[in-house]
């Protein structure tokens, strides 16, 4: 898709009845973003011989396995050694490779933070960290495996770009965009099967938020699994005459400050929704912009600074306050605070 087409698509947003053309009405098709990642990586491998993939003994779960099978010479399973994986990725990138390094989000970011910080981001190398199993929807494995800090970690490093795709379509586009992007990128992916929200016309660009629904009473700014929840919340709010704008803020860094400012100005109240600790993630990133550009009431839907635990993913979303109903309630609360 060229730039013109993107702009056109952006213009179309919100025009058609019931939202932009690329937004699916039928959301019964489901696919985990990690699965979409695996497919996109394979396509990328076919297009670009400089693409090299690393994993740390989780290639079945991260879905790098398909790439490994087709391009065994360009795939390196580093074993259970995330630090070494990131250091090796840096060395390969120094030599001109575009490296995708995958593991679970908790280990990719936390076990190798210093490597990502000092050896990848400090010299701004072309390493793309595609981390799966982010957030509490990991489910049964429990709190030790549920990364709720990874966005805060990656966002705090200069030169790092942080993208949290909402569905399979966006993941595919984000993987391609990450490969084309100069420098390090963090892609946050999930284990859980989630609805495919977007059709191919979806105008993904790193650093650009996408408006999924128009509205001027409140803006719901979400990413990852919470985008579907935000859309559902908007539907519910509409029944009571509250018109909620829904924004997919898939890029957390560099954040789309213009879109946030416009939402603050035009809606006067914001809700952020993320599958992450409310300390340091999307909510913080939006709050930083809001207070500096246009202070308005905000509510932060997310994990309220407690560790995850075992359970079924949907049970956990409920337990941790990450459902459409939670987003809806938060929206009502901020709307009530407006202009006070």
């Amino acid at each position: 898709m060229n730039l013109e087409q993107i702009d056109e698509a952006q213009d179309r947003r919100g025009q058609a009845e019931g939202g932009p053309a690329f937004l699916r009405r039928d959301r019964s098709q489901k696919e985990a973003t990690r699965v979409a990642y695996g497919k996109a990586l394979l396509e990328l491998g076919r297009e670009n011989p400089q693409v090299v993939v690393l994993d740390a003994d989780l290639s079945k779960s991260t879905h790098t396995g398909a790439f490994a099978k087709e391009f065994p010479e360009r795939f390196f399973d580093m074993g259970i050694a995330e630090q070494d994986m990131m250091g090796t990725a840096a060395g390969l990138a120094f030599c001109g490779k575009t490296v995708f390094a995958s593991s679970f989000a908790i280990f990719a970011t936390g076990r190798a933070f210093d490597q990502v910080r000092n050896t990848i981001c400090y010299p701004a190398l072309n390493v793309k960290i595609a981390a799966t199993h982010a957030g509490i929807t990991v489910g049964e494995d429990g709190g030790s495996h549920e990364a709720i800090e990874d966005v805060a970690l990656m966002r705090s490093i200069p030169n790092m770009t942080v993208v949290v795709p909402a569905d399979a379509t966006e993941t595919r586009l984000a993987v391609k965009a990450a490969a084309a992007w100069e420098g390090p990128v963090y892609l946050r992916l999930g284990r859980l099967d989630v609805p495919v929200l977007f059709d191919e016309g979806y105008p993904f660009r790193i650093g650009k938020a996408v408006r999924l629904r128009e509205g001027r009473d409140v803006a719901l700014i979400a990413n990852g699994v919470m985008v579907a929840a935000a859309l559902e919340a908007a539907d519910r709010l509409a029944r009571d005459g509250i018109e909620a704008r829904v924004i997919n803020m898939s890029t957390v860094k560099p954040i789309d400050a213009e879109e946030i400012e416009a939402a603050a100005r035009e809606c006067g109240a914001l809700v952020t929704a993320e599958e992450h600790n409310v300390l340091g993630g999307l909510g913080s990133a939006v709050a930083e912009v809001v207070v500096q550009r246009r202070p308005v009431p905000m509510a932060l839907v997310g994990v309220q600074d407690r560790f995850g635990q075992s359970g079924k993913p949907l049970e956990l979303l409920e337990e941790y306050g990450l459902t459409a109903a939670d987003v809806e309630a938060a929206a009502r609360q901020v709307v009530a605070r407006k202009g006070r």
Partner: protein, 303 residues
């Protein structure tokens, strides 16, 4: 009944086999019965949860049995007894075998085993010391147990307590550099009150350890780091017992027991199969597995 471990696998340099049985027939019988119970529990728990890691739990069942039921000094009714021996399950994904042992030892009612991995259950997917009595360390992120064990062993020496610390690691796990940092600490600090096991089942998630990141001569590696090393058949209860006794007698340095094992041990269709690392048996598979394991564990053994 199932795949046999070739004792030729043991590194001749460190191979350790007790010259004669160290357990009485009765004792061996009792422990075998318990090991069978743990294996049955592992199958039932993971089947009930439809989630979890049977392979690495089964491979460690004999080691865990031997520790909890003939070696560890502990009081299930008083889990915080300061003089208790400590066991750290560094390969936290093998939680089912730990939970089965703790239940069997009486730390909590057996019925709780069925709540594995359920919301609000104390039996978390990976051990959580704050939720379940008897769990000595919260693990799950691999590579950390040896450092934790070192800390416990240092505390023991500081406090003049004579408890011992046991750490169980996976073979894939020792690809984590932190293990080697810790291995240097154990030696440098002369932690002869610490004994570590490697559950050397030769499989990790993505395949055979040799294919992913080779760990040949693991005994020699630790020996070069200054450890006292023993290589044993990790399903031979006499060998496990004798090796631990040898460790207890070894002064001035820590002991590593390379326990050659079979992943999925006891359930033929799971044995040495990488697929069973983190896949729970479906109900019919669980039934088959239980049938293959044989009846009743302790009860059957006593019969």
């Amino acid at each position: 009944m199932s795949t046999q471990l070739s004792t030729q696998l043991l590194d001749p340099e460190y191979a350790f086999r007790p010259a004669q049985p160290v357990l009485s027939a009765e004792e061996r019988n009792r422990l075998q019965g318990i090991a069978l119970t743990l294996r049955r529990d592992i199958i039932e728990m993971t089947a009930a949860a439809q989630s979890g890691h049977p392979g690495g739990s089964l491979s460690a069942a004999d080691i865990v049995t031997c520790l909890y039921f003939s070696i560890l000094r502990h009081r299930p009714q008083d889990p915080h007894w300061p003089d208790r021996d400590r066991f750290v399950l560094s390969k936290g994904h093998a939680a089912p075998v730990l939970y089965a042992a703790l239940a069997e030892a009486g730390y909590f009612p057996r019925e709780q085993l069925q709540t594995l991995r359920r919301l609000h259950s104390p039996l978390q997917g990976h051990p959580d010391m704050r939720k379940l009595p008897g769990v000595e360390a919260s693990t799950g992120s691999l590579g950390q147990g040896l450092s934790i064990g070192n800390g416990m062993a240092l505390a023991g020496k500081l406090d003049g307590r004579d408890y011992r610390v046991y750490v169980l690691m996976g073979d894939g796990e020792i690809q984590e550099g932190m293990v080697w940092e810790a291995a240097m600490t154990s030696v440098h600090r002369h932690l002869d009150n610490l004994t570590a096991f490697v559950d050397y089942n030769q499989l990790q998630i993505d395949g055979r350890v040799t294919d992913i990141k080779s760990l040949t001569h693991v005994g020699r590696r630790f020996a070069a780091f200054g450890w006292h090393v023993l290589e044993i058949d990790g399903h031979d209860l006499d060998a496990i017992h004798a090796a631990v006794q040898d460790a207890q007698r070894t002064k001035g340095r820590p002991t590593l027991i390379v326990a050659h094992t079979i992943k999925g041990k006891g359930v033929p269709f799971m044995e040495d199969q990488v697929e069973w690392h983190g896949t729970a048996p479906k109900p019919d598979q669980a039934k088959e597995a239980l049938a293959q394991l044989g009846a009743g564990g302790k009860e059957a053994a006593q019969a």
